[in-house]
Symmetry: C2
Subunit: 417 residues, 2 copies
């Protein structure tokens, strides 16, 4: 088994961090509140110009954090001036004090920006159940905003990290009609990763002129096949949040109003947004706590796309599959087990499994030409591909995950995160 | 974190193994087929006298083993002469050859016992997807039956072990009316443990005169609150099987026929059967792969008993909760998270959590008198109690699990089981 030590960068980290260009109408500031981390920035504020549209997707957890409750209440207005994020404390399960904490923090940001507090969004990430020291955050807000600059993406991505070993950034360009637009995004997440209709923390910014309701529709669809299709440990966070801001300040000639998410001028933008959210989601898997393998699981032949996703997640979340991958063992019997336990329709005697490019099974049994040496070679790599056809209908889904190693246990048994 | 080394006996094992008395009409034989384990018995045959009633509960896996398919097809007749079990190979996902394998094995047992093969049950446990060497098993069947004795319970329980570190046995007595009866049971299971309407392997024998259909009803109810309420790793086996045989040979005076599962004369028998299945289920958790803590999770206040069980399992199966327990950290925020991700109704602001006897939360926040030193003391013990009231209605459930340690990863990454 490969090792992935605490505090060192994940062996699956991208070799180069993306460099993000400025986006007209967005500035990023970072500050150090000292609430948990003493020697690094732990507050991030992204400030957008007035009349920026906003969209958001949030955790389905029944014990969502006070910050998530706040954002959910405000997002339907579609107006977003800023988002303030603190790392180290999730402000989840903190009762009335937690609600007051969010209101205090967003109130201060609104004061400095001279706007309604309902246009200020907030996220908190870290330990659940400890009181948020809102005053410590409030103290650094004014300076953090004053020092915000358009090129501060890397420091912004670093300031929201908790057990992450590298900052997660991505950028894309697209044309909407003749108008060139930019999309930037950054995210955090490493453990407690199994979003369901939502995700860990992700912030996406564009200068495209897209109204809030259309932005919401585009974001929702994009999240389903990216952040909502990854799993590190099958645990769903109380704080999962993706927010997207559109400043509308891209310069160009005569783009008439976008009035529908079906407007064909949005096709390339959708494509690029999907690629960007997928890139960030993959970076989260690559920084999965203790991960040494990046695993792609494709399921075809299911009763529906939804059924395919349930089966893919059943494989992705199985501790026995994940430990076999950590041990570089092509133990495909555990994949059969995980398909079987998913509860979704599957035809045992039509089930086909591939590991890498090698077909392992046929007609409910091992393939006559199957050579385990070949799949063993594939398992030794960093990128593992598992494909399954369950032989029922045409539903398909892809899910990404990582292996389960000793380092996951070290990180979560020995530290309170 | 405490350690639980491979190949040594679980630190949670019972100090004394139960000694099981003979049950009239039951003999147990063991043999060594040499198919996987070379230096131990790996075949067990329990032979019952003619006119023994049988009941069974099986895995809900969509990729059930050939042996499970066979048992399911025969059990409705309610007649059971014998069960033959092999350890080391699950005969799951072995296609047509697997079906022929079961038929060959049960056919041989039926020949020796001179009875229809439909009265012979079979289980296989071990690696999934490898062909079963039925001939090797067939070779030892005659001698195994010839050497079967009424007092061979311990060797029978040992012969069906795979990654188990100790044999699991239990015995009970009850009166049905004035008739004293015996119940014996043994089981195996250590990993791939998250039964759903079924379980790992368990075999229960009684001399009580109970017809097959009533036996089935009693067994089904008993399994729901025992084998179906435990989880080691959230993975559901392809081979889960509980079979119960009633020889009807208990001697006594004038017990008229039992014609209904509601017969009040069965009350004590039900109670003792439930205690026995729970005892065996707890032994499986105590032998959970890598386990160092035995964890009881009680959920109250849920929308229904079913909802309570889903919440309890969400806590029991959370890798973050399990690693916190391994690390002896009373990280109750992760319990909040697991309640939230369960998808069941819960009122965050009424949620109450206890660790041991200590109330941790109140009104959606940490309890004002909460002293973490007290819960830390509880977490250092071997027996962890987590109680949750979700504040919605009156549904309740209890689920048992163990912690997630390095040894689980060693066992499953480094060995193919």
């Amino acid at each position: 088994m490969k090792s992935s030590k605490n505090n060192s960068i994940s062996p699956l980290a991208p070799e180069i961090l993306s460099e993000l260009p400025a986006i007209a109408g967005v500035r990023l500031g970072v500050g150090c509140s000292g609430t948990k981390y003493k020697d690094r920035n732990d507050v991030m504020i992204a400030v957008c110009d007035a009349s920026t549209a906003v969209a958001g997707v949030f955790t389905t957890s029944k014990t969502a954090s006070a910050s998530v409750d706040w954002c959910r209440a405000q997002v339907s207005d579609g107006k977003g001036r800023a988002v303030v994020v603190n790392a180290g404390n999730a402000n989840a399960f903190t009762g009335q004090q937690g609600i007051v904490g969010v209101e205090t923090v967003v109130g201060k940001v609104a004061d400095v920006l001279e706007c309604p507090s309902t246009e200020i969004f907030a996220s908190s990430t870290g330990v659940i159940g400890e009181p948020l020291d809102a005053d410590a955050i409030v103290k650094v807000i004014k300076d953090t905003i004053a020092n915000a600059t358009p090129d501060n993406w890397l420091e912004a991505a670093r300031a929201i990290m908790t057990t992450d070993t590298f900052p997660k950034l991505a950028t894309a360009t697209a044309f909407i009609g003749d108008l060139p637009v930019l999309i930037n995004g950054f995210a955090k997440g490493s453990g407690m990763i199994a979003p369901d209709m939502a995700t860990m923390l992700g912030y996406i910014f564009t200068d495209a002129p897209i109204p809030g309701d259309i932005l919401q529709a585009l974001l929702y669809k994009s999240v389903e096949h990216s952040f909502n299709s990854i799993s590190v440990d099958s645990d769903t966070s109380t704080s999962d949040t993706v927010l997207m801001f559109a400043t509308g300040q891209a310069h160009g000639t005569g783009l008439s109003d976008i009035q529908s998410e079906e407007d064909p001028r949005l096709d390339q933008f959708k494509e690029q947004l999907d690629a960007l959210t997928l890139d960030l989601a993959h970076q989260i898997v690559r920084d999965g706590e203790g991960a040494t393998k990046f695993v792609t699981i494709c399921v075809n032949g299911a009763e529906s796309d939804r059924a395919a996703k349930v089966i893919a997640k059943s494989i992705a979340d199985s501790p026995l599959v994940k430990t076999a991958i950590a041990g570089e063992d092509p133990n495909w019997g555990r994949i059969v087990m995980a398909v079987g336990k998913s509860g979704q329709a599957a035809d045992r005697d039509s089930l086909i499994i591939w590991i890498g490019d090698t077909q392992v099974t046929e007609k409910g049994y091992v393939h006559p030409d199957y050579d385990e040496q070949v799949t063993q070679g594939h398992m030794k790599g960093d990128e593992i591909m598992i494909k399954v056809d369950v032989g029922i209908a045409k539903g398909s889904a892809t899910v990404w995950t990582c292996d389960l190693t000793h380092a996951y246990i070290d990180i979560n048994a020995d530290y309170r995160s």
